[in-house]
Amino acid sequence: MIQHVLAADNGETAKLLADDPIWLVLIKVVGIFAFLVVMTLFMINWERKVVARMQHRPGPNRVGPNGWLQSLADGLKLAFKEDIRPVLADKWVFFLAPVISCIPAFLAFSVIPLAGEVNLFGQQTALQLVDLPVGVLVVLACSSLGVYGIVLSGWASGSPYPLLGALRSAAQVISYEIAMGLSIVAVIMFTGSMSTGDIVNAQAGMVLGGAIPGWFGILLFPSFVIYVVSMVGETNRAPFDLPEAESELVGGFHTEYSSLKFALFFLAEYVNMVTVSALATTLFLGGYRAPWSGEFMNTGWWGLLWFIGKTLFFLFIFIWLRGTLPRLRYDQFMKLGWKVLVPTSLVWIMAVAVIRTGAIQQLSTAQRLIALGVVVGLVLLVSFLLPDKKVQDTKGVPLAGSGFPVPPLDLVVPKAAPKRKVKVANIPKDKAAVTTGKEAE
């Protein structure tokens, strides 16, 4: 019975994609690769320009129109630089690491739906490479493979800073992948499918009488927030860029890399950013759908416009965060992941499960109210059972609200030092001479 409710009209995109001829698949593969590379070139430039604007400087403005070809020029220059391998490096792993980090980054994009049904060279198809029944897991698997690149590069470099960066990165990705996976669970529960095409289709409707779109970012807001935080952690971007941390670890895992290998790391980082942003769009912002239902600007190639617009929104947030927030300390970062994001997701998933069950079982109003009452009662009980916060002992030095030590209340302020007397020449004032005339006498 549950299956009937959940899997109502899933698998439409998969059916549409099933009869793609191989030449169309090849065209899509090349198209996705080109899209990601161009997005990387664009993102590097955009990031430099936006951060520059935030800091009141012009940013790159020399190469090409308005400086938009700067990253292309940099990339070309990078390819022709000398390739250096440290003496202590592990030859093969050092070579493999950038490749390992780059391939999954591209691979993950294959399940992202860029637009709905379009006519591509006379074939009716969806603008998406594949639509697997486990599409979301593909992205998670790729991101967990991409970490190998970072970890192995740090280990293979044979020097301490990269190794520290690699260790940090391993711990970081394991902890934030859990939060990311949990935030996706709620979406899967609502859709009843892990396929990305089905998830977009499930967000087609409108809620609250057609006032707002039925996007999961609105319906499942806590999941959305957790996903966005963990996606920044997952891509090693500021304020979570601890594996690189140029002020502590020089360059982190890529300290010893140069030339094309370094370029591959750079490429992988930006492609990963685009991928997680695209996944956020797909899961939470309705994918390629317009913010309204109906045909107007919502069919065919219009989808690509909406998709790119929403993805750029997330990419802008990445840049904004980098321009605004300082890097977290490592323990604060781990605390946020394990003590805030993971427990919140677990509680939220429980709540979503209860709500879903209520919706599927079609309970009466009285039953719903009773359920709500039980939940509120439980929350109250737990809040009463929680021990009070310990009262601080008053013997210590009193601290102001900021935590800074302040001077005691009975502090005797020493008297100000006597002013040095400066001998001033006794010059008669002109005015006095005019008005009174006494001193002149």
Partner: protein
């Protein structure tokens, strides 16, 4: 040329296979991935370096994951990659990197009779494996997953249903076992603060410093001047006298002759570099 055109124009098989037969593509994938998995296993055994061993094992796990996907079990395949390759092997690598790259295996037998027991258990395990694989090859009838993948919510839905109905007890037992293991590891690894002098927090240190009130700020560092970059150079107070607090105990206890070069440098009486200094020779 026309062969290429016809290849490009053909439509691939549907994602959800309807028939339960071994297709050509599946056979090719098996003969590519099977040797790869085997090579990974052998590489893991014979690699000298522990991290290389772990990487070979990753190759085996990835090959197995892809094999699952091809055999109509996409969920199992991707979970294999996420859990085994992504999480478990990453933890292995983490520990190996902590241990250090140059540490090699010790060949000394630590527990008496360990090798004998290991050999016996290994042989027993091999017998079990051969038995079960042999049985799988002869008497088990292969059954495709086409029906399970297309009806009743598909692959993922069916796995979920089986897991939470028929195999609920086994599932809950496994999770209890894992949670117990995790808690046990935490308790074993946890180093409590009680029992030995605990490390003071930043806040406690600040409060302590203000409570005795002797010196609130930090102790003056060495006076590193433009003329000297030695830590032995004392800091000077405003009246020009040497600040005793800036002197470093170890250096103060060192024999003066050892430090004579530094002294000469500070005083400006020692060897002065000239334009030939960079050549590193006497001329």
């Amino acid at each position: 040329m026309s062969l290429l055109v016809s290849f490009l124009a053909q439509q691939p098989e549907p994602v959800q296979k309807v028939v339960d037969t071994v297709t050509t593509g599946e056979a090719i994938a098996f003969w590519v991935l099977g040797p790869l998995a085997l090579a990974g296993a052998l590489g893991m055994l014979f690699a000298r370096n522990a991290v290389h061993s772990a990487l070979w094992l990753v190759v085996t796990m990835l090959s197995l994951g892809v094999l699952y996907m091809i055999q109509q079990a996409p969920f199992l395949g991707f979970v294999q990659i996420i859990v085994y390759t992504g999480a478990i092997m990453m933890l292995f690598l983490f520990v190996l990197m902590m241990v250090g790259r140059d540490s090699s295996d010790s060949v000394v037998e630590v527990i008496r009779g360990q090798r004998l027991a290991a050999a016996l258990l290994g042989i027993g395990f091999a017998v079990l494996m051969v038995g079960s694989v042999g049985r799988a090859l002869t008497s088990v009838e292969p059954r495709g997953l086409a029906e399970a993948n297309t009806t009743n919510g598909g692959n993922v839905g069916n796995i979920g249903q089986k897991l939470f109905t028929d195999y609920l007890f086994a599932f809950e037992l496994t999770s209890a076992l894992l949670i117990t293991a995790a808690l046990g590891a935490m308790i074993l690894a946890f180093v409590g603060r009680d029992g030995r002098p605990s490390k003071k927090t930043q806040k406690e240190l600040v409060e302590e410093r203000f409570q005795d009130g002797k010196r609130v700020g930090s102790i003056p560092g060495p006076g590193v001047f433009a003329t000297a970059n030695s830590v032995a150079t004392p800091a000077l107070l405003p009246d020009g006298s040497v600040s005793e607090e800036s002197l470093f105990e170890v250096i103060e206890a060192t024999d003066k002759s050892v430090l004579s070069d530094d002294v000469a440098e500070v005083a400006g009486t020692g060897h002065q570099p000239d334009s030939h200094a960079l050549k590193g020779s006497e001329s």
